[in-house]
């Protein structure tokens, strides 16, 4: 079976697809992330809208051929705008039995499976836990299956290059990419150019990958195995220059932009943690922007170094994920108490404890809101799409600087690694977020002598003055002990602590007047609304479109800020008979909304390490409309 190609001579047709959801799956060492990335890139350059979902294990190289070593990459490419990586894939590329076994259930019934048949030997079947050969035992009865001996064909075409067979085998992912590129009519130049660029210094590797890619493409064209090829026409996107971007890169660039718009240097202090490390990597390579990066000895040192930088007048930032946010809690309380700007970025992942390091979740909202001792409110901003991470970073820095407060920016594993086309913004349109350091005395003592009062607040923002070391005359001490209003001197006076507690809360509450309203997507009168925060925005947007297309009215409310909440939210929520709150947690926002507005919203939960599909949310909306 493994060396046979099913020949089905027939008239080959070209079919138009509005959308294609393809999932590449193989062993961790098979290069599936790279293959998916390249398919995505070619599709983006071709003009499709798209969204991706890399889905890989926490282990770097789990034992080859096993189920827990399967690494997958899903992408939806479409001729219309999309906001999710798609629900069930329509095409699955499976490089080995483990990949087939672990991913087949996701495929829509009647979907297409493209299989590297060379990998279906007894040993690999055993490792994947197949007692019978799935290629022959009926497992694939409900799918259109193409068996392609990718390994042997790749080895064959690499023979003349002088590449060792073992090395040649490693190019089989490019063979697979060639096959699907042909099948879905993707341009080949971007991939070939990329191979030259990426492997230019290793000509033999570059040649093997190129040859394998071309051979895969030619295989599709010549074997007559495929009865049709498919076209996904370019999407009608807003005019502009586009690039393909994932959330962590957008976030990193947003921080650079924020520093420029604030006219202050950026200091990033982080400890490596999945899925946040790529921000540290990206910014470490941007030293020419004046960015200082610091890999600290632990999560606590990282946030402390960022606070130290802020004390010195830089923009102190630290990136982390849930476990790290837990460790940083005490220091965030310090920054809150000494009222210095600080940005803490939490790229959420499955928890508690080590949880699911490489899988997405949005379950740190409670930790961000409440995870400190004492009354310790701080502003929270949440990104909602990969490219929007750029703007979320600027917004979070703006609030931190203007209000001299730590801000937590929530992203998640899906946004971090998922990518989409991004229409590049006009830099002229970015807000000026610069603030002034205090350089003069701001008060006088009883004898009329000028003095500096580090806790004399600006009446509008309640922000305290930011006087940085090096400023003559304004020497002052800040610390975590309670401070006397205005002077900042240590004070244990009961009434003063009450006042300071209330002022710190009022400062954060007041930010509500300085943030945009709730994002409202309405298409006419509706009695049902979906309320979202974070990356679930994509699935909700897609679901709402689907439901409306079926003739049902539904509104979509989305929160870009979780603390303070948008000033108009309470009034908005009061308009609907039913409000659904889908969250990748057990109802954290839902609880907040219930207690704050006394509205019994309906919580929809998914805590499985993968985003909601649009169908899941569309079904929930349909159910709510029926009950309404």
């Amino acid at each position: 079976m493994t060396d046979t190609v099913i020949q089905q001579p027939s008239q080959r047709t070209v079919e138009d697809l509005d959308r294609l959801v393809i999932r590449f799956a193989g062993d961790s060492g098979d290069g599936m992330q790279l293959t998916g990335d390249r398919f995505t890139s070619a599709s983006a350059l071709f003009g499709n809208d798209l969204a991706t979902l890399p889905d890989f294990p926490a282990e770097i190289r789990a034992p080859a051929g096993t189920l827990h070593g399967v690494s997958a990459f899903q992408v939806q490419v479409a001729s219309e705008t999309v906001t999710t990586p798609g629900d069930a894939p329509t095409v699955l590329v499976a490089m080995n039995p483990a990949a087939l076994r672990s991913e087949l259930d996701r495929l829509e019934v009647g979907g297409t499976v493209i299989i590297n048949s060379d990998a279906f030997q007894e040993r690999n079947l055993d490792k994947a836990g197949y007692s019978d050969d799935p290629l022959t035992d009926g497992t694939l009865d409900h799918y259109t299956t193409y068996l392609v001996p990718m390994t042997s064909l790749t080895k064959e075409v690499c023979k003349d290059l002088g590449v060792k067979p073992r090395d040649a085998e490693r190019s089989k992912n490019f063979f697979a990419l060639g096959v699907v590129s042909w099948l879905f009519d993707r341009p080949t130049e971007p991939t070939l150019d990329w191979i030259d660029m990426k492997f230019g210094k290793r000509p033999l590797v570059a040649a093997a990958n190129s040859v394998a890619f071309k051979a895969g493409h030619a295989f599709g064209e010549t074997t007559e195995m495929f009865q049709a090829t498919y076209k996904v026409r370019p999407a009608e996107l807003e005019p502009g220059t586009y690039t393909s971007i994932n959330g962590n890169t957008a976030l990193s660039w947003g921080l650079i932009a924020a520093a420029q718009q604030a006219k202050l240097p950026l200091f990033l202090a982080s400890y490596p943690i999945t899925p946040a490390s790529d921000v540290l990597h990206e910014l470490s390579g941007r030293k020419n922007f004046g960015v200082r990066t610091f890999q600290a000895e632990d999560e606590i040192a990282a946030v402390c170094a960022a606070v130290g930088a802020s004390f010195g007048g830089h923009i102190g930032v630290t990136t982390t994920s849930g476990p790290g946010l837990a460790l940083k809690a005490e220091t965030i309380g310090l920054a809150l108490s000494i009222e210095l700007p600080l940005l803490v970025i939490d790229i959420q992942r499955g928890g508690p404890s080590t949880g699911l390091p490489t899988k997405t979740e949005a379950s740190d909202l409670n930790l961000a809101l409440y995870g400190r001792h004492g009354e310790a409110p701080l502003p929270i901003v949440a990104a909602y799409s990969p490219s929007q991470c750029f703007f979320a970073a600027i917004e979070a820095v703006r609030i931190a600087l203007k209000y001299r407060t730590p801000v937590i920016l929530l992203s998640d594993g899906y946004l971090a690694n998922g990518s989409e086309p991004w229409r590049l913004p006009d830099l002229e349109d970015l807000p000026d977020i610069s603030v002034d350091f205090t350089t003069q005395f701001n008060d006088s003592d009883e004898d009329g002598n000028p003095v500096f009062q580090p806790y004399k607040r600006a009446p509008e923002t309640l922000a305290r003055p930011w006087a940085v070391p090096g400023t003559p005359g304004l020497m002052h001490r800040v610390g975590g002990l309670e401070k006397e209003d205005v002077t900042g001197n240590i004070s244990y006076t009961p009434a003063n602590h009450g006042l300071m507690t209330e002022v710190r809360a009022a400062k954060v509450d007041g930010i509500a007047a300085d943030i945009p309203p709730t994002m409202l997507d309405s298409d006419g009168p509706a009695t049902v609304a979906v309320l979202s925060w974070g990356s679930v925005w994509g699935s909700v947007t897609s679901a709402v479109r689907r439901v409306r297309a079926a003739g049902t009215a539904v509104d979509h409310l989305h929160l870009t800020h979780l603390n303070p909440l948008h000033a108009d939210l309470g009034d908005l929520l009061g308009r609907y008979r039913t409000v659904l709150v889908p969250e990748m947690n057990l109802g954290q926002l839902a609880s907040i909304v219930r207690s704050r507005y006394l509205i019994d919203v309906k919580s929809i939960n998914k805590v499985e390490g993968v985003p909601f599909t649009a169908s899941e949310i569309a079904a929930a909306i349909a159910g709510a409309v029926d009950d309404d």
Binding site: A44, L45, G47, E238, P239, G240, T241, Y242, T243, S244, I245, W253, I256, A257, Q260, F267, A269, R286, K287, N288, F289, G290, R292, F294, A296, E297, I300, A301, C304, A305, A306, V307, G308, A309, F311, G312, G313, H314, E330, L334, I338, R423, L424, P425, L427, P469, G470, T471, P472, G473, L474, M475, H476, R477, V478, G479, G480, L481, N489, I490
Partner: protein
Amino acid sequence: MTTDTSTDQSTTKADWTSDQEPRWCPGCGDYSILSAMQLLMPQLGARPENTVFVSGIGCAARFPYYMKTYGMHGIHGRAPALATGLATCRPDLDVWVVGGDGDILSIGGNHLLHSLRRNVNIKILLFNNQIYGLTKGQYSPTSEIGKVTKSTPLGSVDEPLNPLSVALGAEATFVARTHDMDRTHMQDMFRRAWEHSGAAFVEVYQNCNVFNDGAFAEITKKDKRPSMLISLQHGEPIRFGAEGERGVIMNRSGELQIVEVADVGEENLLIHDERAETPSLAFALSRLSSGPFMPTPIGVFRAVGGPEYASQVSRQLAFAQERSGPGDLHALLRSRATWDVA
């Protein structure tokens, strides 16, 4: 560090004394350390606005409140990490860290190691009183075995840390010890630390007269000093005693040993070399005494050059700008494949 000694820039002790009244117990050793520092600063020609004291939590950590400089009273154990961020971004400042043995060696031990090995330009003063004072008398990581405290009613069974050995193990480029009974010696050590480019670690034996009174009396009382304190001088034979009658040699097994000079001959005494490339000799000196009841070396154990962290970071920034040109955000957004939609 920059020194500006022009007359109109000169300062006095009052310029370094904040309006906050110290809240240490009467008789605490911290008072004499504070006073030594406030008197030293004008001599150094340092500027209050360019000086920052950073601390963690504990009695010693209140120090910044009393210096009329910039200051941050941080959280327990984290002062070296706070100071590292500040010193990395602001190499123009003099950044001091002050903390006790619980703060810097226990909860903050990790940050001590890493700030020292990075050689960040911060000056760490460890006020070692071998007890937890602010929490009212528990044993600390430098308390001796058998110490009876509120949390060790039958005596401590924990082996204490030797702060200098720890610092030298992290290959700190500047390591010194002094004590709160000798202002001149303290000032000498603080001055040397201030002049050093890179991380400096100074252990100050400090008396807690409430919870651990007299912990160092056996070696620091005026009449005990000649026989119990071994003052290290670079390039000089290591000797002590009222008449310099005792000294230190390295024996055949490579161990340091206290001897009578008359027994071995002056020429066989160990010559102190604070600039030795490896920290081995300094480490051996740090192990010479196993507690403040034996003759104990004070002074500069190690002072060597080495790349300072913040300047290395700045150099990389300059190099990156030279190589890639100053950052251009417009170009960065277009640094990967782009396409136009008309």
